[in-house]
Symmetry: C2
Subunit: 781 residues, 2 copies
């Protein structure tokens, strides 16, 4: 008995659940140097332990990076995470690039290709396995890289669908049912696997340093690269990434599958199950003892392995292709099997795939559709697309989004110039194999750098949190967003777990430390108890008491402010010699905002934010009001426009800096200087557009970490420690930063328990102080 999934789904109204799933992506890229030669350097230490980093590791070679996303409930999310991995890896590499092509770049001699280096007991088997592969297939073949696509249906879909299985059916056993479902897809994928290559093939020319035997009979291009005109995907072709000899593995049942693989291992055809290089692979929950795990718990998900790296996509794969794969998997589930799938059918399927991969650009090429039935790839592809849209229409899930995804492929089918490999050959013939790909690699890196402050798909989180998460990913610390709107994250490296909120609220600080810093009165007490200079002054709960102390303040600069300040409301700053009347008004204003106010001496100087972690000041930042620097030619308006083009400037706090707006306030401020936006500042003339230095109104952030004498850094650390803090933002006023004698030269006005870290990482002028990493270091990750 077989199951008709189309009927079952319709009957149980699971059409919308059918489209839910779990998606994960893996991508390999070789590292190359600026000449397009395989990088012979070590895997960057920034990525931590290769065996433990779940996101960034290597495949066969030390130079072959592998990026792995977690599982997400949409393919967009997996894609976005892969984009982050690509960006993080790219920007971490030192003078190296990610090679954007499945076919390797300029290779050294076989013996000089570095096999992945692994240490310790755990690394030993990894190393030996790779050495055996090198001996068997040659190292060069193992360098062929690509995309793997992992998919499973949602548990809810599987469970509900299972509920529909009639009692007494052989599939009234959930494991059997699931295995049957996934194996059906696997068989159909073999049948239609050529279609993937037809759509996604993008590996045609090969470089002359690749395996000599493959190059024979190929045409040479100018830069020592070679090609066949008709090849669609060298990687999936006869000379590509495949097992030696002809291998057959049954996909009729899981038992047969496991038994066949075991036989191959016994016969020494394969070393391990994972050496079976098929275009689709059934996967178990466990990563070790795969076959046993499959038998015990059944198939957990499917891995689709034949997608080539796409050099035309910045990160090597197009989201529309990935979305299509999802729809195609659904199609493979829905599509009835018209025949058994025995050894001959299996071999025919493999043959179709290899044929198409090697010669698929030949329009006359005929594939074996079935017994004595030959058909061109294009005709067959059109049939499949029509059937897909038919099924989806029947199930009522064919909406605009799906049509867009399908039409994207239809275009490729209709117009072969749209096929990646066609575009690739064109570009390579023009620029050369190495140059073409190097250009792609460089422009991708440029893009990665521009957005390096953000974690894609997490832009709703605060920048500081995004920076910490990127650093976590880089070093392989797993994370879970526990409460998104609160920036509440769980970090877990397998050894320890740490919750953090808003990047700097952690277990490192005690609760009372945060409360001390939150409270201005207590803060002043702890600071002055530690002999740190704070503005002299008092806290008042009673307006009349505050007013009666006028005499005590009138002779010096004075700040009057509510105890809990919000956006600067109710704050007045006086110069020495202010009147009693003005003083009393200011007191009333402050009391309008709070029941308790502070009256303090005003300390002259510039304000600097010291970021302290533990015993160290790790960053110092100064903010400057929005401004432009003249060149004697351009107007203020033009200068602002140019300054705003900086990728660090955006709108709505999604970027480290905000764009300068030439609004009413700015115009009035210019007017007060006798200028307007058409004014052309002299060369070197700095024109301020605002009085306030907030980043939110276009201010600049300037890194002073290396420009301030050590003594002030020590004072900041002492201030942090006075409140018992580990992570602390200290706001210090300094009169003269050149003066290494702090006496009468500084005062601390605030310490903060939730200091932003992004301002120290992406300043307008200065160095990235890598605070995300320092926070993780402090947390012990």
């Amino acid at each position: 008995m077989d199951l008709n999934f189309r009927d079952l789904i319709k009957k149980s109204k699971l059409e919308s659940l059918l489209t839910r799933g779990n998606f994960g992506l893996e991508k390999e890229n070789l590292r190359v140097n600026k000449n397009g030669e395989l990088a012979l350097t070590l895997h960057p230490k920034e990525f931590g332990d290769k065996l433990k980093n779940p996101y960034i590791t290597i495949d066969f070679s030390e130079s072959q990076l592998e990026m792995i996303t977690p599982s997400f409930d949409t393919v967009e999310k997996a894609y976005t995470f892969l984009e982050n991995l690509h960006d993080i890896v790219s920007t971490t590499l030192d003078s190296e690039y990610l090679w954007p092509q499945s076919i390797p770049p300029i290779l050294p001699e076989e013996k000089d290709i570095p096999i992945g280096i692994f240490h310790g007991e755990a690394g030993k088997s990894n190393k030996e396995y790779r050495e055996r592969l090198a001996k068997k297939y040659g190292k060069k073949l193992q360098l062929l890289s690509g995309i793997h696509y992992n998919f499973s249906f949602s548990d809810k879909f599987l469970n509900k669908l299972y509920e529909e299985i009639p009692h007494g059916s052989e599939f009234r056993d959930f494991k059997k049912f699931k295995n049957h479902l996934y194996l059906k897809i696997a068989r159909n994928h073999f049948r239609y696997g050529w279609f993937f290559i037809y759509l996604f093939g993008a590996s045609s020319p090969i470089h002359g340093t690749y395996k000599k035997e493959c190059i024979e009979k190929m045409a040479q291009l100018k830069d020592n690269s070679y090609y066949f005109e008709d090849t669609l995907s060298f990687r999936n072709g006869i000379c590509g990434y495949k097992n030696l000899g002809e291998i057959y593995v049954s996909h009729s049942s899981l038992t047969d599958y496991v038994s066949d693989i075991k036989k191959l291992i016994e016969k020494n055809v394969l070393q391990e199950a994972k050496e079976y290089y098929s275009s689709i692979r059934v996967k178990s929950k466990s990563k070790t003892n795969i076959l046993d795990a499959l038998e015990k718990d059944g198939i957990e998900y499917l891995e689709f392995r034949s997608i080539d790296l796409n050099p035309f996509s910045r990160i090597g794969v197009d989201i529309l292709d990935l979305k299509f794969v999802h729809l195609f998997i659904i199609y493979l589930l829905l599509k009835e099997e018209n025949n058994e799938f025995g050894e001959s059918q299996y071999k025919n399927a493999i043959q179709n795939q290899e044929l198409l991969a090697s010669r698929g650009r030949d329009k006359e090429l005929l594939l074996n559709k079935g017994k004595d039935l030959k058909i061109t790839a294009r005709e067959w592809a059109e049939e499949i697309i029509d059937e897909m849209t038919g099924y989806f229409g029947e199930l009522g899930i064919l909406d605009d989004k799906y049509n867009e995804i399908i039409n994207f492929q239809k275009e490729k089918i209709k117009n072969e110039d749209r096929q990646y490999v066609s575009r690739l050959l064109k570009g390579i013939k023009d620029k050369g194999f190495i140059n073409f790909h190097l250009e792609k690699a460089k422009s991708s890196l440029e893009e990665s750098r521009k957005k390096s402050f953000a974690l894609k798909g997490y832009e709703d989180l605060e920048l500081s949190t995004q920076i910490v998460l990127k650093e976590a990913i880089k070093r392989g610390v797993k994370f879970e967003i526990v409460d998104r709107s609160e920036n509440f994250v769980l970090l877990d490296n397998g050894i320890k777990k740490e919750y953090i909120k808003q990047a700097t609220k952690t277990s490192l600080d005690s609760y009372i430390t945060a409360l001390i810093m939150e409270n201005k009165v207590v803060t002043k007490k702890v600071l002055s108890d530690s002999n740190i200079v704070v503005p002299k002054g008092e806290n008042y709960d009673d307006p009349s008491k505050a007013k009666s102390d006028y005499e005590d303040y009138k002779n010096s600069g004075t700040v009057i402010k509510p105890k809990s300040t919000n956006f600067g409301l109710g704050i007045t700053i006086f110069k020495a010699g202010f009147s009693r009347n003005d003083y009393e008004k200011a007191v009333d204003m402050a009391f309008n905002e709070d029941n308790s106010i502070l009256i303090e001496e005003f300390i002259e100087g510039k304000e600097y934010r010291f970021f302290v972690i533990g015993d160290e000041t790790v960053g110092i930042l100064h903010r400057v009001p929005a401004n432009v620097l003249g060149d004697g030619k351009k107007s203020i308006e033009k200068l602002v426009q140019i300054k705003n083009e900086n990728y660090l400037r955006g709108k709505g706090y999604k970027t480290p800096l905000e764009k300068i707006v030439l609004g009413e306030s700015e115009k009035m401020f210019l007017e007060s200087q006798g200028k307007n936006i058409q004014y052309v500042p002299l060369s070197g003339e700095k024109v301020f557009l605002r009085e306030n230095s907030n980043i939110s109104t276009g201010g600049d952030s300037i890194d002073y970490t290396d420009d301030i004498p050590a003594i002030y850094k020590e004072i900041a650390v002492k201030a942090s420690k006075s409140a018992g803090a580990v992570i602390c933002g200290v706001d210090m006023i300094i009169k003269d930063i050149k003066n290494p004698n702090p006496e009468n030269n500084y005062g601390i006005i605030e310490i903060n328990f939730n200091p932003a870290i992004h301002i120290h990482c992406y300043p307008y002028i200065g160095t990235n102080r890598e605070l995300g990493g320092k926070i993780l270091d402090a947390l012990g990750f």
Copy 2:
């Protein structure tokens, strides 16, 4: 040259600063058992180390408690603090009382009176000093107890006054000026010291077990006590607390003073400066090397030592008397000295004091006012009072408050029946010396018990904070209220400092722990990650997603609530089988309160608050809605009235429980039961007046700490630890508290980082779980 302070003050308009000062009080009380015998037990261990507790220690005898207030800027505050000390000490004693009389109670034989026990090197000199005193004066004399009153003018007053001293004056030296000012007061106090005894004398009958030689010639009262009819203050009299022989110490200058004391020590008349038993003592900042400190830094404050314990005041001293002392000190400053104050004047002053103390009730008794000038105490007292009011009037500081204070004393002068000793004799003749004082002691204790949850003068703080502070005082941990409105306190035992906020926000918990508990979603995650049962359910940010999950909830009891709950707004509880329409309305209601909501299974059972500290559940509390228990006679209205008389019930959250109000809600709730407030419940019938169990609406708090199986306490600890908490309030629902198997019998709905402690200390039914002390223990105090 001398200084005319009246003129100086007027000239520099310091009248209002004149009345500011620093006030401290000390009080000794003997401990007695229920028979009025000196308690021979050890100083209670609850008060910690006698040498280190700055508030509660002993004087000469192990049984002679001494209570010491810090310095305050008003005498009311010092009085209030003394009241607290009195209450704390009284309620800590086990079956003993504070003897409310300067004269000792029933004493054992001299040899059995326990001298204070001190340990270690630091205690050695204390012990030896006392042993020498015992030998010299006899132990019984050392048991005479009283009030000491410490006073200094405000720094601001002294500084401003000093500014008025003309250049070239010998007092243009601040130390000299201050010494001169305080010594003038001291001399005047000698001159008018008898007046204190006249007003405050309250130690007349003595018990037969006191020194035999003193009893000779006295009349006997029925209970083995003895008296002279005319004695005002036995303690200040000839047989009272004074040095042996005639001692003279010059008070003309500090140099002379120090030199005279040193001579007395050299001659072995005194062991140390502090053995000089004068009615006033000049004091230095330092407590050790007093004489050196006086010479070095000058006089810091004055100690007035002749005030008897007042058995008519609950704590042994009347606030109006204390306020009068302050006014009298001002008078002593203002009053010109008409003559030198040499040895003869000194001895005359002492003579007047002793005379008045021993025979002051004799109306004909004449005091030596000056050379050959005799006057009755009453006439002289009236002169002084008139002069005081004259001075104060002249300075414009004689307001209603001052008049009230002065009139209180005027009444005593006019009417000798108002004198404490007169009232005392009357009472003692009636009830007997021992019984009279025991009754006073017992009723004072009763009062202390009734308000034991509150710390007087700090009622604006949360009850939980008051409880912690009381415990800090008890064990001698100093505290400073750093921010009153925020309940932010610094604790300091001389070895370590700890800031705490709202009693339970401390350095023990990490910041992230508090944030985890604050967030319902994160809380549920940490709990369920630790395999603790929490209500099943989900967090929704999207109303339509929440609504689409109706099917998942409809079949069980369900709670729908905003993620951040405030006063229960937006919460709906459904029983199983609710309609989609009602469900959707409830979802909308919750989203009205927050952007994020929780939909959860409703767990059946009663809710208990587990208070966890570290590895232990230290209290379990259950709240019951406002109710009355019938006796078959009284109406609900009457039963409520009686229930409200409990001292734990008050209004406005100043007490552990709130009074029940019979308002609209209660009447409606009764109506729904077919009752009204005139209904007379049967004997044993419990009638609920509300549905909600909040304490704020008259609910009862019931201690279950000893009634719940250990396994639930362990689960509460595990819950606390799952968030990394040390201090934690765990809200657990339990179906059946008799069932020691937690499976399907409990669920945790919340964990709290700021659990109230007072509810566990002052429950309606149950035991005080002493959480204040446990918090301090956990903090290492």
